[in-house]
């Protein structure tokens, strides 16, 4: 599965905590633990965009990993 574009709303739903998922990929979980908190503290469009870039980058750079593939299916269907 290709990593869906950063413009897909699911990414911002993820970092704003609007939607939560049971994810598998450890690096993303640790990162999201911080990003969701960061967005709660500072919910500006710039901060949301910056957090989306960070989590997208982690998934994109590990696209071959089985847990990443599983997470992408969980988030994007």
């Amino acid at each position: 599965m290709e990593v869906p574009s950063m413009s897909r709303p699911q990414w911002s739903d993820l970092v704003t905590g609007k939607k939560t998922y049971q994810l598998k990929f450890l690096a993303a979980k640790i990162l999201l633990g911080r990003l969701v908190h960061s967005v709660k503290e500072n919910p500006t469009p710039d901060n949301i965009k910056s957090c989306v870039e960070l989590v997208y980058n982690v998934y994109a750079k590990n696209a071959g990993s089985p847990s990443v593939q599983e997470d992408l299916t969980t988030i994007f269907g």
């Binding site: 994810l23 640790i30 633990g33 982690v58 089985p66 847990s67």
Partner: protein, 333 residues
């Protein structure tokens, strides 16, 4: 995958054969080894597949990753240079980092790694080297660069491994703890110690809070990072100074809870391992386990299959962890 306890001579033979090795052993044993493609850290405690948990100053725990890697580079990084550890990892591979306990690099990595550039873009696993508990305060933990022969007590060694084609690496954690049902604890500052804590938002002295509530400090604080449970272990309480010391830093903005009690630490750890037994031993390339788990679970003489490896003063799975077992799996894709 070879993960075994070996004599110095047996280990030297593997080095001479050009194997790529991750080594753990007492300083005197590691100093006897020839140069080669290896990194190492000091510690005399191990879990082996054949003998279970043991302490030995003479033998070395050997993890041979030759079979899964195409090439490796071994680099040394100081406390500042470690900031590149994710960004400079190989495109298709993983990095293993070993850092001496209580070094500047240890403290810096613990506090800053989550904010390093490109956090998480490459698999990073590793451990904090230590010493025999009888030697605490007398001998410093060290790390070894097998290529140069350098022995460092400040700074870290990193093995950057590019995987063979068709393979992918993943890092995992075994944590027997869950958040308990008690108070929500937050801290006003990042650090390895805390005097103040916010208990459900109310400022208190943390040492007094622990004493008053009779918290079992064998059980860590647990943070929930989007479902990944991360422990902060207690090092000690100074009631006079009103200060609590930890083996890993607490961070502001993170909500901690004292761990849910476990009826029997050893049994709970065993049950936790059994949940992971679907992992194939062939896929587990490396693992290490916390010395607190070793002590509190009474792991001497006991096996932790499918995992074997060094016992550590801290585990690294992307960031510093406590009271966990961390492992690196390599999958065929």
């Amino acid at each position: 995958m070879l993960q075994d306890i070996m004599t110095v001579a047996e280990t030297a033979k593997l080095i001479a054969a050009g194997k790529v090795l991750l080594l753990a052993g007492d300083e005197a044993a590691l100093r006897q080894l020839p140069k080669g493609n290896w990194i190492g850290g000091t510690i005399p405690y191990f879990i082996s597949h054949t003998e279970g948990g043991l302490a030995t100053r003479e033998r070395i725990f050997v993890t041979d990753v030759t079979g899964v890697v195409q090439s490796v580079e071994i680099v040394e990084r100081d406390a500042n240079g470690l900031a590149k550890v994710y960004a400079e990892g190989p495109q298709e591979g993983f990095s293993v980092v070993i850092i001496p306990a209580l070094s500047k690099a240890h403290l810096s990595f613990a506090l800053n790694a989550p904010n390093y550039r490109d956090f998480g873009v490459r698999p990073l696993i590793g451990w904090i080297s230590g010493v025999h508990l009888d030697d605490l305060g007398k001998v410093t933990p060290k790390v070894f660069n097998g290529v140069t022969g350098n022995v460092l007590e400040e700074g870290a060694v990193v093995l950057q491994a590019t995987l063979s084609p068709g393979k992918v690496a993943e890092v995992g954690i075994v944590n027997l703890f869950e958040q308990g049902g008690g108070d929500i604890l937050t801290f006003p500052a990042d650090g390895f110690s805390a005097k103040e804590v916010l208990v459900n938002g109310e400022k208190r002295n943390f040492a007094a809070y622990i004493v008053k509530n009779k918290l079992d400090t064998r059980l860590p604080l647990v943070a929930d990072y989007y479902g990944a449970l991360v422990n902060i272990s207690f090092q000690g309480i100074d009631e006079v100074e009103g200060e609590v010391k930890f083996y890993a830093p607490v961070f502001t903005g993170i909500r901690y809870k004292h761990a849910k009690p476990v009826a029997d630490y050893g049994e709970a750890f065993k049950a936790c391992l059994e949940n992971k037994c679907q992992l194939s031993e062939d896929r587990v390339v490396f693992s290490c386990n916390c010395i607190l788990n070793y002590l509190y679970s009474g792991l001497e003489g006991k096996k932790t299959d499918p995992f074997a490896g060094p016992i550590t003063f801290g585990e690294i799975a992307y960031q510093l962890l406590n009271q966990t077992l961390v492992y690196l799996e390599v999958h065929d894709v």
